[in-house]
Symmetry: C2
Subunit: 571 residues, 2 copies
């Protein structure tokens, strides 16, 4: 491709309403153009990237044995009514009536349609398993579309659906997809993590999210650098400390802590480490009052609390309730001396292993120090994991210590089981001729979202830093004086021909712009390898090479450039 | 691809509501599956075909210098309001309100969106010309979707739009697209014609349709086998006969033709050739009565009549009007003896060249024979082309005689000129710095429709006959006893590997079905080349080859099969 034959349209400034770096850079680089809120045209440079992502996804899905088809975007309401989603789905589902007043939706997901296809065509266990997928533009009427293609209303998805005779076989395909998705994101050149949506182990779980790692990610992820363990911070298990509770060395003392309510302030005031303090959080389940205990530097995990026996659902206690059950205002409450008949005490695993700790005295303006389980108060009625993990916590799989990072969800695999197949009568005859409901899995990838996520992960002050696999071009040739110097033109054309013949996706910038403009544009759109053809170098038989993230250029003999570049692209 | 790894799902019977052969065969072959009226899932075998068509279209568009982008399907109403199409477009335009009650359409065509893109990004003549295109699923709410993918509601289109500094440059690109479309349909392996939407010459016309020729086509096309002339029958010009009017040999006679009203009956009764008869058709323009004269075997062309001076618009005269102006009931009316002050006589070019003809006598039950212009009636007030062409008419370009055929419109190229660019302020600065409105062209191809049209053109009693370029597979290997014979399995696998390595798109039917079932399926889905691997042949080192349209199979030495097949595929 030559730049003059291409519709490259970069901007000096991004529109001010672009909130995140990928959105700003995609607009500035001319990859997308806004048509309406959350609705974008993929300009030629952007579409090249989108197609590269799409092709890698397609190749790996095919390699994994999935079969591509193409379902309609427009879906009759009857199918959605069969599964009850017509009523349940919110206003992000675009519904409309056709000219005959029949109800339709623009399908943001296609479980109903594929289940309808399969129930009509698959009758026997001999036709199973089958995995069908499509790559399709979808529409979801987000209430507040933002972040460019990261949360757009019209977007490109790969959605796949598998059908099985047994849960075992569904799990086999689930692992196959887990591996396939890992291959896809590896090939895309992205740093990513497969994140368990619940316990964090592949085995028993029903759902994994695939996240591209980026500081701007919406989701906080805990992972072990020593294993493939990764989980959403809110779902990662916080293990009990492996060091046992120490001896009750200090005597318990009631100390004045005037106006010190937060653990940080109490620790400062008492010159104790924060890790010696315990905070008490009062919650209610119906009329039951429960005191949750956390170490001062830890945060409550409401999801975990909500799963505890007798706490589903729970709410935070009002100040009046705290005073009624503990006789003290919030800020100075604690587990010592409470009426076990009225107050249930649940300790986080870490708190249960603490000794000689500090906690509220249930007297306004006072805390207790040197508190010990068994001696100053009974053992907690329940010890449980009720906090968010923090960096340095042991990994739940026993391998290494957790680190935290942020991620952007770009893929999701899910064991649907029989949710849709049972509702829609998608059955097969097994070996004995008995009718059985199929087990189903579904597997999504946000193709357009990946482009945004890749930019969130890869950018610098000069623009986008794309992995070569999805860059709009793998390499660019920037001639110094293409229109003026016969030698430069000849050398640039020759190299361009050679690289193309070698299958390298190269762009020749033949615009006769100033070098600075061409350099800036090629850096902005994220071309990973740049070759400058100039008279000075040519006089010595050399071309200048510079990698997108390198600070220094280097001179390479013209005859060696192809081999040099090939090595770079294979690296 | 192996059949067992593929979701092949053929049917014995097509649903009875499938009206045309392509629709029936696509359903029977499992290429598509109906979801709702005019809305289909493209099953894996069908999608392979669709993608092959799409890829050929894309390759040739790129080769022609057009640049691909991807516009949103969902388009804000404001853009359609700018051009007035929001009001003008009928109920086939899907309109909806988003959750914030803003109006949108699902764009069935994208002139507004692309003009918006270009007006924002292109400011100077230096950026022109530019041709941008996309391949996209579109929705048009047809009142009566039918014929499967031929007139579906959701369909795949290639739509391209070009922008120019001058009408000359638009015409250059228009010719480029005319050539490109011709290359596309040639590569697709289809018999087609580019049909002028008006005069039939490429030069001055603003629009051409590309038709795949098929007996079932909705459009009648006149073409010259000796040139590239082709036009819709209704638009093809009927030239004046090149033989001049003969001498007035016979005397005019008034003859009784009781109950003979139609020219055919009159000619029979009078034992005259039909080509000696003239029929008169009475029409009105406001209060003007006009008598149109056609040779008995010709048909009136209302489009041509409507373009005549003083006949826009016209309507057919009532029986009362005919009696008032001619004093005779319809069926026996004619041009002889009419009052020139009240009745305007317009003769078709052919009629004007007739002599000694038969026409109505303006007396019930009587016709005139031996009628001659100038002798029995004045020369017509106007001689014009007012009929449809018929087979054998001279081609308007002077090259050969016209033939008639039927076609399915699968492409359309159109000189939009400034219709959209003027309405939307899509301008550029010319060399002198003056603001000018861009000239526009648009170019559509019905990608999904092509699949149906190809089947209308290519089918037989056993199913679809696809050109190799768009067949779901180029070749199939059908083993006789894949599971039973080691030798057959080994030979089939070896051949499969060889053909794949040679880049041939081959399917190995490893289903262990009866040979008849496998043969029938492969013929039904239109695979053009079949290789049978059987023990008998292998004993002699041979494989059986049969082309889809051939009646006899032939034995080929196993070692020669690849070369043999390659030659077939290049043919």
């Amino acid at each position: 491709m030559r730049t003059t034959q291409f519709f490259l349209s970069t901007l000096k400034e991004a529109p001010s309403d672009a909130e995140i770096v990928s959105h700003r850079l995609m607009l500035r680089a001319g990859l997308i153009k806004r048509l309406a809120g959350g609705i974008y045209t993929w300009m030629p440079a952007g579409l090249r990237i989108l197609r590269k992502v799409e092709n890698i996804v397609r190749e790996e899905m095919n390699r994994a044995g999935a079969i591509e088809l193409l379902m309609p975007a427009v879906v009759p309401a009857e199918l959605w009514q069969e599964t009850g989603r017509w009523e349940k789905y919110g206003p992000e589902l675009l519904r409309f009536k056709d000219r005959h007043q029949r109800d339709f939706v623009i399908g943001p997901t296609h479980e109903e349609v594929i289940t309808d296809v399969v129930r009509k065509d698959v009758k026997s266990y001999r036709q199973l398993p089958i995995h069908l997928y499509q790559v399709q533009s979808k529409f979801r009427d987000e209430i507040r579309p933002r972040f460019g293609v990261m949360r757009g209303r019209e977007f490109l998805m790969k959605d796949g659906y598998s059908f099985h005779t047994s849960f075992d076989d569904l799990q086999r395909e689930y692992r196959n997809m887990h591996d396939t998705y890992s291959r896809i994101f590896t090939r895309l050149g992205l740093k990513f993590r497969a994140v368990a949506a619940d316990t964090g182990s592949i085995g028993g779980t029903g759902s994994h999210e695939f996240h591209v790692l980026a500081d701007s990610g919406e989701d906080a992820i805990a992972f072990s650098p020593d294993s493939d363990y990764a989980a959403n911070v809110e779902l990662a298990e916080a293990l009990a400390p492996d060091t046992p509770r120490g001896a009750a060395g200090e005597a318990m003392q009631k100390v004045a802590t005037p106006d010190r309510v937060r653990c940080e302030d109490v620790a400062d005031f008492l010159k104790q480490p924060l890790t010696k303090t315990v905070k008490a959080i009062a919650v209610m389940h119906d009329d039951d009052f429960v005191l949750l205990l956390l170490r001062g530097d830890h945060n409550l995990n409401e999801i975990k609390v909500g799963k505890l026996p007798g706490l589903d659902p729970f709410r935070f206690a009002t100040d009046a309730e705290v005073e009624r059950f503990l006789g003290c205002k919030p800020g100075y409450i604690g587990p010592v001396g409470v009426d076990a008949a009225k107050v249930r005490v649940i300790a986080d695993r870490t708190v249960a292993a603490m000794d000689n700790f500090v906690c509220g005295a249930n007297t306004e303006g006072f805390h207790l120090t040197g508190v010990n389980w068994g001696r100053n108060l009974p053992e907690p009625s329940l010890v449980a994991d009720i906090r968010n993990v923090v960096a340095g916590d042991p990994s739940p799989d026993g391998k290494g210590a957790l680190e935290l990072c942020r991620g952007i969800e770009v893929g999701h695999i899910f064991q649907l089981r029989t949710k849709y197949s049972a509702a829609m009568g998608c059955t097969f005859l097994d070996e004995t001729g008995k009718e059985q409901v199929m087990e189903m899995g579904c597997y999504g990838i946000g193709v357009s979202r990946i482009v945004g996520a890749a930019i969130e992960q890869g950018h610098d002050a000069r623009g986008i830093v794309f992995p070569a696999a999805i860059a709009p071009f793998e390499a660019c040739i920037v001639p110094m004086g293409y229109a003026k110097s016969e030698a430069v033109k000849a050398a640039a054309d020759k190299l361009y021909g050679e690289l193309r013949a070698a299958g390298i996706d190269v762009v020749l910038d033949d615009r006769n712009e100033r070098p600075g403009v061409m350099f800036a544009d090629m850096e902005l759109i994220g071309v990973p390898h740049r070759i400058v053809v100039g008279e000075r170098g040519l006089a010595e038989g050399k071309l200048e090479y510079k990698g997108r993230t390198e600070t220094e250029a280097q001179m390479i003999a013209a005859g060696d450039m192809l081999a040099f570049l090939k090595e770079k692209l294979c690296a």
